[in-house]
């Protein structure tokens, strides 16, 4: 008995983690998947109902708006984070004075919650006392900046706050990537007469492919899961103009008590994330095994 225990101790120590994740991650996802095929309202029902909830979901105007918003947000969020992140990383890489301080400033938003930063942005962007008033007081009397309360434009305020929060992170990834390149390569290129611009554009950035890939995966992942920022900044409003899938899911589940429908929306999110993550994990593992 004791020998057996000793021999299997490592597996016994692993068991709680594997059991917890098996139950709370895999079991729960399967439960949600099952419920998405039932006609559950407030309480879950277990008779199968086919794809009805998915049909309902894709016929819902609110869900379609959510998906639209997610696509707009993801595209802009990706572009701005990556462009700003790369510019900052390259500029910081030029033996800048006070680099540590600047880096700290670029990255501190990542330490704050979206609720905290959303609260701040909401105050800054509010038309009565925020930026709009500041510019008007400075003499630009016709200056208007009321995106926060404009149905068409409110989604872009979420982009502004989201980029502000995450661009520094992309900067950190690229800076680490640039620093890992051998100095020799850069020196050799310079001796050959390449300008600094050419060195980055033709040599270093193409070498950063894995970093681009990682940033892409992480940023898309963040954007699909966006929830807190929207709650803090617009609560999906004005109207439903800034709803996104994560918000749709919780509202449908906990305010409207449409459990089956919300499970279907959760599974759509799950599949979207899986479509990005599985190739990523696959390539990461291959890289690790190649080493």
């Amino acid at each position: 008995m004791f020998r057996w225990l000793e021999k299997n101790l490592p597996k016994i120590v692993m068991a709680p983690a594997v059991g917890l994740i098996g139950w709370f991650v895999y079991g729960f996802v399967l439960w949600t998947l099952y419920i998405s095929f039932t006609n559950s309202k407030i309480l879950p029902k277990y008779e199968l109902w086919g794809f009805g909830q998915y049909e309902k979901l894709w016929a819902s105007r609110k869900w379609l708006i959510s998906v639209d918003n997610l696509l707009i947000f993801t595209a802009l969020f990706l572009i701005f984070c990556v462009v700003i992140g790369i510019i900052l990383a390259i500029f910081l890489d030029q033996k800048i004075r006070a680099e540590g301080l600047l880096r700290t400033i670029y990255l501190y938003p990542m330490a704050l919650s979206f609720i905290v930063t959303g609260t701040a942005w909401k105050w800054i962007l509010n038309p009565t006392l925020g930026i709009q008033k500041m510019f008007r007081d400075w003499g630009f009397e016709n200056f208007t900046f009321d995106w926060l309360v404009d149905r068409e434009m409110a989604i872009y305020t979420i982009v502004i706050a989201g980029v502000w929060q995450s661009a520094g992170f992309v900067m950190a990834l690229f800076l680490a990537g640039l620093r890992s390149v051998e100095d020799e390569i850069v020196k050799a290129a310079k001796i050959d007469g390449a300008s600094l611009f050419t060195v980055y554009w033709k040599i270093l950035l193409p070498m950063m492919r894995p970093v681009f890939f990682t940033s892409f995966v992480i940023l898309v992942h963040i954007s699909i899961k966006s929830y807190d920022l929207i709650v803090a900044l617009t609560q999906g409003g004005p109207g439903i103009s800034t709803t996104m899938p994560a918000l749709y899911m919780t509202q449908t589940a906990f305010h409207k008590s449409q459990v089956g429908l919300s499970a279907a929306s959760a599974m759509m999110m799950f599949m979207a994330v899986a479509a990005v993550i599985i190739p990523y994990l696959y390539s990461e593992l291959r890289r690790e095994n190649a080493r």
Binding site: F24, L107, W138
Partner: protein, 280 residues
Amino acid sequence: MFLRWFLYFILILFASYFIFPLYVMVVTSLKTMEEIRQGTLLSWPSGLNLESWAVAWGGRGYGAGDTFLRPYFWNSIKMVVPAVFFSTFIGAMTGYVLTKWRFKGDQWVFLFLLFGCFIPFQAILLPMARTLGVLGISNSVIGLVLVHTVYGIPFTTLFFRNYYISVPTELVKAARIDGAGFFKIFFKILLPISAPIIVVTVIWQFTQIWNDFLFGSTFSFGEAAPIQVALNNMVLSSTSVKEYNVDMASAIIAGIPTLIVYVLAGKYFIRGLTSGAVKG
């Protein structure tokens, strides 16, 4: 030379964009409402007026509708400390087994755990809410400790596994020949060299759990709510006139613990971020 100036100009321009909201938060929290209406976002406060901080933290002292952050701040502490401890401990153990007591199929077990880093939590919210109800710990700090411990395990395992994999296995083998057991090897050989990864993991978990809103707002309300939920409720409550100075003081109070950790241990924070920032 011109290029250098241009470089610094752009870098400082972006630095001001990043610092701007924090600056606005701090100065706004120090103004009176009168000053806020008259000045602009950037204008300097007339003095060190800490009243809105006092109101944000401890309320105004009259009964109904007087929400303030102090009790929720303690809720968050009571939630974060055990959740960080348990998830870090479990992660250290699984990371240890996965690298130093390898068994057949351990790579699959790792992948099995790792996938938990990526799932959108919406896919587990409904069954989790029911489970907490069945266990009788919905709307309680204990329930949130359970939730954060469980969903932290994939990350803590990832951190420890990637750290321990670079520790030479020969050390462990030699100790085993000398008759040291499973726990002795962990406590005598691995734990003493684990300080950096423990710091990374604790900071990562602390920041994630402190800043969480989705779980907090779904599984708790009223008195058991953590601070982010309370902050959001405070800011959204439309019962009285908007007091932006109190809102900003509240936001700073809710953000200051993680900000302090970031400033003191930024290096470790970034290490965690670059190896585990798959979580939104």
